[in-house]
Symmetry: C2
Subunit: 191 residues, 2 copies
Amino acid sequence: MPKIVDPEERRASVAAAVWRVVRRSGLDGVSVRTVAAEAGLSPGSLRHYFATQAEVLAFAMQLVLDRVRARVEAVEPDPDTATAVRRVIEELLPLDAERRAEAEVWLAFTTRAQVDPALRALRDASYDALESVCGQLTDALLPDHPGREAEVERLYALIDGLVLHAVMRPDRATPALMRAVVDRHLTELTR
Amino acid sequence: MPKIVDPEERRASVAAAVWRVVRRSGLDGVSVRTVAAEAGLSPGSLRHYFATQAEVLAFAMQLVLDRVRARVEAVEPDPDTATAVRRVIEELLPLDAERRAEAEVWLAFTTRAQVDPALRALRDASYDALESVCGQLTDALLPDHPGREAEVERLYALIDGLVLHAVMRPDRATPALMRAVVDRHLTELTR
DNA sequence: AGTGATTTGGTACGACTGTGCCAGAAAAAC
DNA sequence: GTTTTTCTGGCACAGTCGTACCAAATCACT
């Protein structure tokens, strides 16, 4: 195993350590010491890559949002509009273990953003971006649709609700059920 | 102003203090001292009503869930099915400042339930109850509907997504927009 | 009024927090 | 080979955390 020397990779590995701690103990369990231990670093060394703990949190959250954005952007287009829309939506849903873990971390950060201005800025930006995506999906399915705003919010709320449920009750909100819900919604929209 | 002497009222006022602290500083800001100060008590006195801090949190969360349940149960029935369904849904949504505050607290506790077994039990029970409510609403609108499970989850996810958005972005997810979304959804279901 | 139970305020303890700081190791530059 | 920079580990500090404990105050009841 090659040693990680690139500072940016080191920061990324710290972020991954943050994610693991968040999943195990929640965002409250994230301290300088727990993260350092999880990343295999000493607290003093950790401080060399991140000046403050707030910087650690902001970086770890930003990386989550970046991953979601990258996945959505990487969706290959499809001649069939409904198929293209479905693919984008399914990239936003935690349909496998990795993305469910990602969603858990997202929820933790999103909730803390409620009382942390720095994280709130990140959250609001990603909220706007996702709302825009949902707007594009809606326009693709229903061009010049009256009541567009409500239709966009309906899709966005449905997606976030599914994500929330998959995090809270993965035994209930299974990938199969989430797909069925999306199927039904898209079928109704294109009818 | 009469003095509060009833122990149960005292506990409720402590829970209210917890809610205020949660809204101001998040669930992390809830400590024995901050809650005691917010409730106008000394830490030692607080411990006389709650043996542990975990008990304080469980009680405060339970009271939130009780309020939601009481509101849903208090919905007066209506001969028109669609109207009755809409009324129940609108009781679940944070359409005014008070219920939005309630939703903020709910989100904080729900997120912590992810890593706190005691709170998780409360959350899971209320999740099941709300899922059951959504099932009844769905059955009322669409009796003997094929794919009932997906339809129920679609409604439940939509509601929770709207709640989540109202908490995160009250400027975007306004009461008017939420009503419009629900309107559109119900119109589509009954079509 | 007196007695026993309840309620209150406050202190103390060990554990944990973020951050500041520094000496030594490792690496890089010359 | 020497110097300079980067990196690492660890200690110290002030502060907060939950909880245990206790004496004083207040209350209820005879």
